[in-house]
Every structure is written in structure tokens, then in C-alpha cells.
């Protein structure tokens, strides 16, 4: 009996917050040291912009890039995020570190949230880099249809979903034989509704057609609904994935 009391005392100092911070800190320190994720994501994003330039080079002067700008922007974000999501879990897998993480007295949701928020952080940094570059290369001098303050919201809603669902799917894909090849196959169809909503909302702000606010808020609400349902599902299912 005395032993049971001693063990309870031992568990009392387990702080999920300390564990959460530790995982975040470790990911950030490792990233700052290797700069693997940010350089590869940033470079990839720039390369995508170069390919856009090729794609649009013969479109002619009557073509209004603004009409497809949101789509192009999200395309760059989604493909860049695939790269980062893979990296963030590959280094856990490399030396069996994921097992070490699972052997520690950490609640599984703590791992999920730490990885997902870490991914959200890196993704936001990349978006913050892409956005001005994209504007500079393709939209310079074009007036924005809607107010500027409306622009970040769809980006936030989109990135939260990408990071949350992406963390779940990337944890699956690193444990398969296909590794990086499997992630897009799983990720893009699952992401379809969120991307659709995000592109709709972003386009609404960029163009500002009559009635754009309705489309904008509708899309934001639907995107947020997707986030809520999918994050809840991912949160609930992560334990099964990580323990298998």
C-alpha cells in the first residue's frame, strides 16, 4: 500500500504542459540548427512561383491573374505543406525516437497537439514568406477587391486544417513503405473541401465582386466547420495511429 502512495506522488509532478513545451522546443531547436524544413519549404515555394510564371507567360494581357490568384496561392501552400509535414515526422522515425516518445509518460493527445502546433508554426512562417513574394511577382499594382484585414482569416482557417489533418496523415505515411509518396495520395482528397472553401474565401477578398462578403463568410464558416469536425476526428484517432 505504501508503494501505491509513493507512485501516486511520483505521477503528480507529471505536467502535460512541460511535456508539450519540451516537444515544441525540441522541434524548434532542431529546425533552427538544421534549417532543413524551412529552407526546403521556402525554396520549393519559390520554385512553384517560377512554374506559375511559365504557366502564365503566354496568357496574354487581357487575362486577369487576380481571378485565379487565390487558387495559385493555395496550390503553392498545399504542395509546400506536404514537404514540411513529411519532414516533421520523418525525423521522429529516423532513430526510433517516436518509440522513445511513446515510452515516456506522455498522454498521446499531448504528442498530437505538440506536433500539430509545431507544423502550424512552420507552415505559417512559410505562408508569411510566400504571400509577399506572390504579391510581388503576380499581383503588384493590382488593387485588392476587398479590405486587407479579411485576407488573413482564410489563411488561418486553411492552415489550421492542413496542420491538424496533415499531422495525422503524415504520421500514417511515415510508417508505410511508400513514405513521401503516400502522403499526397491520402492528403489531397481529404483536404479537398477545406481547400475549396479556402480558395473561395480568398478569391472573394482578392476580387471583391458584388456580394463577396456573403461568399466570404459562408466559406469561412464552412472551412471552420471542416476544421472542427476533422480536428476532433484526428485528435480522437491519433492514439490508434501512433500506437500501431
Amino acid at each position: 500500500m505504501a508503494e501505491t502512495v509513493a507512485e501516486t506522488a511520483k505521477s503528480a509532478h507529471i505536467s502535460s504542459m512541460r511535456q508539450f513545451k519540451a516537444i515544441m522546443k525540441k522541434d524548434i531547436v532542431m529546425e533552427l540548427r538544421t534549417k532543413e524544413m524551412l529552407t526546403s519549404m521556402g525554396l520549393y515555394a519559390v520554385l512553384v512561383l517560377v512554374v506559375y510564371q511559365i504557366a502564365l507567360s503566354q496568357a496574354g494581357s487581357s487575362f486577369d491573374v487576380l481571378r485565379i490568384a487565390a487558387g495559385l496561392l493555395w496550390l503553392a501552400i498545399i504542395f509546400t505543406s506536404l514537404l514540411g509535414l513529411n519532414r516533421s515526422l520523418v525525423h521522429e522515425k529516423d532513430q526510433g525516437c517516436l518509440d522513445a516518445l511513446l515510452l515516456a509518460p506522455v498522454d498521446r493527445p499531448v504528442i498530437f497537439f505538440a506536433k500539430a502546433i509545431g507544423n502550424l508554426l512552420f507552415l505559417s512562417i512559410v505562408v508569411v514568406i510566400i504571400l509577399p513574394l506572390f504579391y510581388f511577382f503576380f499581383l503588384a499594382g493590382k488593387p485588392l477587391g476587398g479590405p486587407l484585414w479579411m485576407l488573413p482569416l482564410p489563411l488561418i482557417v486553411g492552415c489550421i486544417g492542413i496542420a491538424g489533418v496533415g499531422t495525422l496523415l503524415a504520421t500514417m505515411s511515415v510508417n508505410t513503405n511508400g513514405k513521401d509518396l503516400i502522403l499526397p495520395v491520402l492528403f489531397i482528397p481529404v483536404m479537398f473541401p477545406l481547400l475549396y472553401a479556402s480558395v473561395a474565401a480568398t478569391t472573394a477578398v482578392l476580387i471583391g465582386d458584388p456580394g463577396y462578403a456573403t461568399v466570404y463568410w459562408n466559406s469561412i464558416a464552412l472551412g471552420a466547420g471542416y476544421d472542427a469536425i476533422m480536428l476532433l476526428a484526428a485528435y480522437g484517432l491519433y492514439e490508434f495511429i501512433i500506437g500501431a
Binding site: N175, V190, L222, A233, F240
Partner: protein
């Protein structure tokens, strides 16, 4: 392993195998009647609710009696069927995660196989409809889009399975992905439906206008297709259970 005895299970005193045959017969008869009714008895429907008279394929369609609408009696039952079967992928996925019993994984996988068959049929029939209603082979219309995404999700499910060697991990991942995919499909539909696409007009037929014969044909088709789906599922399940049993016996002999 109570699984291996599914074929011996009795319902109303009739063994499972016989039920499968009976339902297959019923399903076939119902879908055939649906076919006959659809082509020879149901009245033609006035053209799709296109706002103004349009010239599509050189024909003004605003008031045309659409023969192509006949495919409604096959397309919609197949579409509903595929979604119902997909539900079982998620259902058995949840059961699997709760129990970790292999039999639920087998069931989820076979339900997904039947889903694949049905979503492909949905896409083909939907595509034919699109071709004759709008004169193009493909329109990113909410329902077709949703079924296209569903096809991709189901294909992804099998790609995922084939890339994992460890049986239990494969089953767990497949269950999780099946649940996520099942949640994703209705959200895809809701979002493509509720956010108007600026490229194509949203042309959705309201379902309320079915006359007696039309409704009869539709319901026959629906029940017929569901029976066919059930039979395909059962037959595949038997086959898989038999195969697993043989493999189990082989392993026992070798081991």
C-alpha cells in the same frame, strides 16, 4: 472464429447461402423491372431547369423532353448505394478500433471494395448523364465532384493498405483512414454545394416532382441495387473468410 460459419447461419430456417442466392435473384429482377419501367413506362421529363433557352449541341433545351433523364433511375440508386456501403467502411473501422479483431478489418475492406465498384458506376452513369444533358463529358458539378473525390479517397484507402506490411498496423491505419474518408465525403458535398462555383451554374434538379411510375421505377432500382450491393459484399466476404481460413491452416501446418 465464428466467422467461418457465416454461410451456415440461418435466418427464418433458410441457410445464409440460399439467402444470398434469393437476394441476388430479387435484386436482379428488381433492377430489370426498373430498367423496363424506366425505358418504356416512365414519362419523359421536361428539360433540366436551365434558366433561359440554351443551345447545347445545336438543340434548344429549355423545353425539351429529355430522354437522357432515364439514367436517373440507375444513377441515383447506385449513388445512394455507394454512400451506404461506404458507411459500413467507417462502421467496421470503428468496430475494429474498439476490438482490434481482424474480422472487422476484413469486413471494412470488403465494404470499401464494394464502395469502389459503386462509386465507379456512379461516376460512369453520372458522366453519361452529364454528356447528354449538358453536352460535355465532365462538369464539376457538386455531386459528380463529390463522387470523384470519394473515388480518390477509396483508391487512397487501397494504396495505403498495399503500402503497409504489418497486418495489424495495416488494419488500424485503414480503419482510421476509412473513418476520415467517410467524414470527408459529405463535407465535400456540402461545401461544393453551398459555395457557388463561379465557373458553372449550379443546376440541381429538385427531387419532388416524381410521378407514380417514376417513383416506382426509382424505388425498385434503389432496392434492387442495394440488394445487389449486399450480395456482392456477402460473396466477397465468404471468399475472403475462406481464404483467411486456408492461410490460417497453412500457417498452423507450417508453424
Amino acid at each position: 472464429m465464428t466467422d467461418t460459419t457465416v454461410s451456415q447461419r440461418r435466418f427464418l430456417g433458410i441457410p445464409g447461402n440460399t439467402w444470398t442466392l434469393i437476394l441476388l435473384g430479387f435484386g436482379a429482377v428488381l433492377t430489370t423491372i426498373d430498367f423496363v419501367l424506366a425505358f418504356f413506362y416512365t414519362p419523359l421529363v421536361v428539360g433540366a431547369q436551365v434558366a433561359e433557352t440554351r443551345i447545347i449541341n445545336g438543340i434548344a433545351v429549355s423545353n425539351q423532353l429529355l430522354f437522357s433523364q432515364k439514367i436517373f433511375y440507375f444513377h441515383v440508386p447506385v449513388a445512394i448505394g455507394s454512400f451506404l456501403v461506404f458507411f459500413f467502411t467507417a462502421y467496421y473501422g470503428v468496430r475494429f478500433l474498439m476490438t482490434k479483431e481482424k474480422k472487422f478489418d476484413t469486413r471494412a475492406r470488403i465494404a470499401t471494395e464494394v464502395t469502389l465498384l459503386f462509386v465507379i458506376l456512379t461516376l460512369i452513369t453520372g458522366d453519361i448523364w452529364t454528356r447528354f444533358e449538358w453536352g460535355v463529358w465532365w462538369v464539376w458539378e457538386p455531386r459528380l465532384t463529390t463522387y470523384f473525390i470519394m473515388t480518390l479517397l477509396v483508391v487512397a484507402y487501397f494504396v495505403l493498405r498495399s503500402s503497409i506490411e504489418d497486418e495489424e498496423r495495416r488494419a488500424t491505419y485503414a480503419a482510421v483512414f476509412g473513418i476520415i474518408a467517410f467524414l470527408d465525403a459529405p463535407i465535400s458535398f456540402a461545401i461544393t454545394r453551398l459555395i457557388p462555383s463561379s465557373v458553372h451554374p449550379v443546376v440541381l434538379r429538385s427531387g419532388g416532382g416524381l410521378t407514380g411510375t417514376q417513383l416506382l421505377a426509382f424505388l425498385l432500382g434503389l432496392f434492387g441495387m442495394l440488394m445487389v450491393a449486399w450480395v456482392v459484399y456477402q460473396v466477397r466476404l465468404r471468399e475472403e473468410l475462406a481464404r483467411e481460413r486456408i492461410e490460417g491452416l497453412k500457417a498452423a501446418l507450417e508453424g
